[in-house]
């Protein structure tokens, strides 16, 4: 994986030293909050409902064991002994004291990590497929491109004050596990005539105006990608609205200007900028790519895997649910669920982080991934070690076999932590998970993505959940809107609103009615919820939610 150069290391240390001085000046009264706030946000420090929150970037979701152990140390020393993995491959610490934050940032810098550009109107942490470099059927590992974009965008002088925040995601696999269509720029790596390049999507995003990204360019060769991206962001920087925060994202710029006009402007800008790229970016990309060379995958057979798989039903369920095919025989990709039934989605204790770090180091080429679905991944696990890893994860409460099932819910922190939230998300996720576990329906229901946001900003990606839940404040009471049929994959779709919202204590019964209806109408267990929804449409589910005649009242509320 990528190692910081001396320049990177110096840059991050200098930033911590600057921030340390800024914190001191804030505490001694030399800086007001108005002066300090943009400075702390540049360094990932938010003030939330009950405390400060430090958001740390995990670029393209990749960690090694030393980094994960350091996150555990930080959680124990300066926080409450856990961290929260987010839907953008960041980790958040929910309880830091202001005075301690510079020390936390120094501890991050010790392992090549930082919190830069995890907030503010700049290019944010670049996310990627969490199975990158491991998945069977991948076109190319997206992480070298993501790292190149990270280096280019970090402190990019032209892009420090964009009209609004700017999120980039990269996938190298046709399955698109990075939700590229819901990003300001989504890159899908493709090969054309043997040449590697990217299909460039622009103007996707969720939030109050959800939109699926549009194709700006079918194919941009790798050599042109950085100047092309710079042209896109430059055009947005000039055209993007600064008069209205809610209309400032590039999705609105694209919508109001039209994709063809944007394309014309981007191409003109690209022609002007391309000659200024002397080729340094390509030399850099080559050097970065070399650092992401896959490990030398040992071909040592699958050991006692078959015996364990045949003999232990718990292990079998774990393997069937939590592993995915690896590019190399004798290996699997293992997803480690941070969604034990009743737990907070994405939360991981320091002890659990150390356990995963130890397993990665001992068995899995020292690599860990963080998924935007708030789970951890051992991307390269030899099959012969699976049983040992499973036993160890079980001891640590990390062997829940629910990846991709009803309890593998992604949920934003909601009003339990977030100052912007309009309702709680976490307890809704907890209740849905424990309810379906108690009913023993999880395996029967099969693949299902429930996504919960505690406000319209949609950090929980509810619009692209097969079932999306949006928590709102309706006249001083928590109310939850349901959307159905959303999808974050290669053919991304925004879900359709089912109708009026449900009270906090009615949301689990509502989800139960939807899933009972699904079980009754599906064409056998092979037909997933999403497939069934696409076949029958929303009407039977409205009927299940609202009773007689409700199916006819589209969007009454």
């Amino acid at each position: 994986m990528y190692r910081y150069s001396e320049f990177d290391a110096d840059f991050v240390r200098n930033r911590v030293a600057q921030f340390r001085a800024q914190v001191e000046r804030r505490i001694d009264g030399s800086l007001t909050e108005d002066e300090f706030k943009p400075l702390r946000l540049m360094n990932g420090l938010y003030l939330q409902l009950h405390a400060y929150m430090l958001r740390v970037a995990i670029p393209y979701g990749t960690l090694n064991s030393a980094q994960l152990r350091q996150l555990a140390m930080i959680a124990e020393r300066w926080d409450r002994g856990y961290g929260h993995f987010t839907t953008r491959q960041n980790i958040q610490f929910n309880w830091p004291a202001l005075r301690d934050v510079p020390d936390m940032l120094d501890a991050l810098a010790d392992v090549g990590m930082h919190a830069i550009q995890t907030s503010g109107n700049c290019i944010r942490n670049v996310t990627a497929d969490h199975f990158a470099g491991a998945s069977a059927g991948e076109v190319a590992d997206p992480r070298p491109i993501a790292e190149l974009i990270r280096q280019w965008s970090t402190d990019h002088p032209e892009f420090q004050f964009l009209p609004r925040k700017f999120k980039v995601a990269v996938t190298g696999h046709p399955d698109d596990r990075a939700v590229t269509a819901a990003h300001d720029i989504g890159l899908r790596l493709v090969r054309r005539d043997g040449m590697l390049g990217a299909s460039v999507l622009v103007g996707g995003g969720l939030g109050r105006t959800p939109m699926i990204g549009k194709v700006l360019a079918d194919f941009v060769p790798l050599a042109d990608l950085l100047p092309y991206l710079e042209a896109v962001v430059a055009v947005y920087n000039l055209l993007g609205r600064r008069d209205n925060k809610y209309k400032a994202r590039i999705k609105i710029t694209v919508h109001e200007t039209g994709i063809d006009e944007i394309r014309t402007q981007v191409e003109a800008e690209f022609a002007a900028r391309k000659p200024l790229f002397s080729g340094v970016d390509q030399a850099l990309l080559a050097a970065i790519t070399a650092q992401f060379a896959p490990p030398d995958f040992a071909q040592e057979g699958s050991g006692d895997f078959a015996a364990a798989y045949g003999g232990d039903p718990v292990f079998r369920a774990f393997v069937d649910t939590n592993t995915a095919p690896h590019r190399s025989p004798d290996h699997v990709i293992l997803s480690i669920s941070l969604k034990a039934h009743g737990a907070t989605p994405g939360d991981c204790t320091a002890a659990q982080m150390r356990r995963v770090a130890d397993l990665a180091q001992r068995y899995a080429y020292d690599e860990i991934r963080v998924s935007h679905e708030q789970n951890l991944v051992l991307p390269h696990l030899p099959k012969r070690h699976l049983a040992a890893v499973h036993a160890s994860l079980r001891e640590a409460g990390l062997a829940t076999a629910n990846i991709g099932l009803v309890s593998d819910i992604i949920a934003c922190p909601g009003m339990d932590y977030c100052a912007l939230a309009t309702a709680r998300s976490i307890p809704v996720a907890q209740q849905i998970a424990t309810h379906f576990e108690a009913m023993k329906l999880e395996q029967d229901i099969g693949p299902l993505k429930i996504k919960i946001s505690g406000c319209i900003n949609a950090c929980g990606h509810h619009h692209v959940g097969h079932i999306g839940i949006l928590g709102l404040d309706r006249a001083g009471v928590e109310s939850y809107q349901i959307t159905l049929g959303g999808d974050g994959g290669p053919d991304a779709m925004i879900g359709e609103r089912a109708g009026p919202g449900f009270a906090y204590d009615q949301i689990v019964p509502a989800i139960t009615r939807i899933l009972t209806a699904y079980l009754a109408l599906r064409h056998g267990p092979q037909e997933t919820f999403l497939d069934a929804y696409r076949r029958v449409g929303i009407a039977p589910f409205k009927e299940a939610l609202y009773g007689d005649g409700a199916a006819g009242q589209a969007d009454a509320a």
């Binding site: 505490i27 909050e33 003030l47 409902l49 907070t344 939360d347 976490i426």
Partner: protein
């Protein structure tokens, strides 16, 4: 005639820890909602809000939140303010663990 003023407490987050605090009757800050000063007229509220905005070395983000009198002192009205009096619902962290 204007509508009667609905009572408020003045709340903010403490600068150093980020804790939720309330303006107390003695002019200091309390962590407990039921020990907050219940403000019953708009003019007084405005004065306290301006004063809080000037106390930048103590608190961040001061605002007025609706409250009502209760047997032990002021009580919050909106659910967000109820959550702020105790902490998150998924762990016994925040104010509730010290209560």
């Amino acid at each position: 005639m204007s509508a009667p003023y609905s009572p408020k407490v003045l709340t903010a987050n403490a600068l150093l820890e980020g804790d939720v605090v309330y303006l107390a009757p003695d002019g200091g800050w309390t962590r407990r909602h039921d020990q907050a000063l219940l403000i019953t007229d708009a003019a007084t509220a405005e004065v306290h809000l301006r004063d809080a905005a000037a106390r930048v070395h103590e608190v961040v983000g001061a605002y007025l939140a609706d409250a009502k009198p209760g047997p032990r002192g002021p009580e919050p009205l909106h659910f967000r303010e109820v959550f702020r009096t105790r902490g998150p619902s998924n762990y016994h962290h925040g104010k509730q663990e010290r209560a």
